[in-house]
């Protein structure tokens, strides 16, 4: 299984924001889409990622954080994934580097985002499927017949 299989059933594109937009705008987007991170883009090229954690960090010591810009708070060193990246590698990298959101790019162009929740769900379904299939075969050993 790879990232493409996760994106295939997500339908929506990643929600994006422009670096020059305010944190107020960014919060409105996070709230409207019920998500935890936005990808900052110039055109369709990702230039940063802004997570709820980035905003909390600023809000903790700056009452005027609403007026700051996305460019001020976003993480610029973004780790991105590609459609054919394997699920286990992605899970490992996200866990080890404590990344909750992975923008997915294809030839430099943003095509979607996978969250750690997406990855956990895909892995769970994968294991459940294997268990189910193995159980079926074990039951087959105990008799019965096939089509």
């Amino acid at each position: 299984m790879n990232i493409a299989n996760i994106l295939a059933r997500k339908g929506s594109m990643a929600v994006t924001v422009r670096p020059e937009q305010s944190i107020r705008d960014a919060l409105a987007l996070l709230e409207r889409h019920n998500i935890g991170a936005l990808i900052a883009v110039e055109g369709d090229r990702p230039v940063g990622i802004l997570s709820e954690r980035d905003i909390v960090r600023e809000a903790a010591h700056n009452d005027a954080f609403f007026a700051r810009l996305v460019a001020d708070l976003m993480t610029r060193d973004v780790i991105t994934g590609q459609p054919h990246d394997d699920l286990p590698s992605v899970a490992h990298t996200m866990t080890e580097r404590r990344i909750r959101h992975l923008p997915v790019v294809d030839q430099g162009r943003l095509i979607g985002m996978v969250s750690i929740g997406d990855v956990v769900k895909a892995q769970r379904d994968h294991y459940q499927g294997e268990v189910d299939t193995l159980q079926t075969q074990l039951l087959a050993d105990e008799g019965g017949r096939a089509r």
Binding site: H92, G129, A146
Partner: protein, 467 residues
């Protein structure tokens, strides 16, 4: 006042398109719901149910097919009907279904293969592996395909389970195959096979190969084929070694050990040789001047890590020519768009969010239309992976029902749907009909000591049903 949809007086009527494992998992999840009364009508363009379990799973892997016992139980529910031999978009249209059902679920799988996109791919002697699989499994649409089994050297491109199935079937003896439910004509054709050397070609290394350990072990136990591999290709590169050690991935370590043992094996004089190759990609099929394949030009790959740590192949400047007369490609599969149903060309799936079909312009769910299985997420996982996938879709269906977002069919009665099908496709096959066909196939098999002998022509099936 009209009773609520999903009650005994007005059951939720659902049409499922496709009778493969996913279709049955969807039906099962729907019919299990204790609060909502659901009636399921399942359509398939073929007269027989079970999709790839019947027509994809290798004939020498009968145990995998036992999953159909669970499907029989689903079909035994009085609120389930099967309409076999009824094609969506031809015999019944989307408009027909919208007039008879509250919800429609597309479970049509990935019906076509990806191309390699290299010169010579269309030479005669170059085939999608899926066509060969459909042929040896007795798929009515593929039973008349022909493969030149007079060739002595064959290459199978890919290391997924389809590729492994194909090399195994090519290497089995007629005696081994004769105990399976392989199609009769395929058994005869393979009996005359002159294939001597079979190459399985993986573009990445042994640690990344999709085949499972039981699958690779089976290749070492073939009655009359010696398996081998190249020592330099099964030795792990530093990047792969690091990944395997870091993850303490026992299964992959074992897989590599098995392959290394194959690389050390000396030929024991068996009639056929199976050569497992890694880190090579075909770049061209070289013609023989008469329209056939003479060789496969391969480039040797090296692995590099992407930013997420996935090891991907990269071509080097080393090339090799592998003389082969027959090539099967198995480099991935794609869904086929259904008439009137939004499609996501990037991934080869129906455009969807968790199984809700989306309008391509608004990206909002289309009321009453859903998808599950490979046509929803792409071709990945084992049969059982489609069960949680189907559960996710069914959860969306019940959520939408609860908030009243279902179709409002003019004729939501089982009898009206049956009348429609009967009018459009009088020769449809019911589940009771299928059970008769099943009994006939099993009886034919019993006489020969085989699990079944399949009926492989639609006319043959209808004749067996007295039509």
């Amino acid at each position: 006042m009209t009773p609520a949809t999903g009650t005994p007086a007005r059951p939720l009527r659902v049409a499922i398109i496709g009778a493969g494992p996913t279709g049955f998992y969807v039906a099962d999840h729907l019919l299990r719901n204790a609060q909502v009364v659901v009636e399921v009508d399942m359509f398939d363009r073929l007269p027989t149910p079970f999709g790839l379990v019947r027509l994809g799973v290798a004939p020498d892997h009968q145990k995998i097919k036992f999953v159909t016992n669970a499907f029989d139980k689903v079909a035994a529910n009085p609120r389930f009907r099967f309409y076999g031999g009824v094609e969506f978009g031809k015999d019944v249209t989307l408009a027909d279904l919208k007039a008879h059902y509250h919800q429609i679920v597309y479970c049509t799988g990935a019906q076509t293969d990806r191309r390699m996109g290299i010169p010579g791919e269309d030479l005669s002697g170059s085939h999608p592996a899926t066509e060969f699989v459909a042929w040896y499994n007795g798929h009515p649409d593929y039973r008349d395909c022909a493969f030149d089994l007079t060739q002595e050297r064959v290459a199978v491109v890919g290391v997924g389970n389809v590729a492994v199935d194909v090399v195994r079937i090519l290497c089995r003896t007629p005696e081994e195959l004769a105990t399976t439910d392989i199609a009769d004509y395929a058994l005869e054709a393979l009996r005359k096979s002159r294939v001597k050397e079979v190459y399985l070609l993986g573009r990445r290394g042994p640690a990344q190969a999709a085949f499972t350990n039981p699958e690779v072990k089976e290749l070492g136990e073939l009655a009359d084929a010696d398996v081998t591999a190249l020592p330099e290709e099964v030795e792990l590169d530093p990047l792969s070694r690091a990944v395997v050690e870091r993850g303490q991935d026992r299964a992959t370590q074992k897989k590599v050990e098995i392959l290394k043992e194959y690389a050390r094996r000396q030929p024991t004089g068996k009639s056929r040789r199976l050569i497992l190759r890694f880190l090579v990609s075909p770049v061209e099929l070289v013609g023989d001047g008469a329209g056939g394949v003479a060789a496969l030009r391969l480039v040797h790959n090296e692995l590099y890590a992407t930013s997420t740590g996935t090891l991907q192949p990269r071509a080097t400047d080393r090339f090799e020519e592998l003389p082969v007369g027959l090539v099967f490609r198995s480099v991935g599969y794609r869904g086929v768009p259904l008439p009137g149903v939004p499609f996501n060309e990037s991934w080869g799936v129906i455009l969807n969010d968790k199984g809700r079909v989306l309008d391509p312009d608004s990206k909002q769910p289309i009321v009453g239309e859903y998808t599950a299985g490979w046509i929803k997420r792409g071709p990945t996982g084992v049969i059982g992976t489609n069960k949680p996938d189907a559960a996710e879709t069914v959860e969306c269906m019940f959520e939408d029902l609860a908030r009243g977002a279902v179709l409002e069919p003019a004729r939501p009665e089982a009898a009206a749907a049956e009348a429609l099908v009967r009018q459009r496709q009088p020769n449809y096959v019911s589940y009771a009909d299928w059970l008769k066909l099943d009994a006939i196939e099993v009886a034919r098999g019993r006489a020969q000591g085989r699990p079944r002998v399949k009926l492989t022509r639609v006319e043959e099936m209808l004749a067996a049903l007295g039509r």
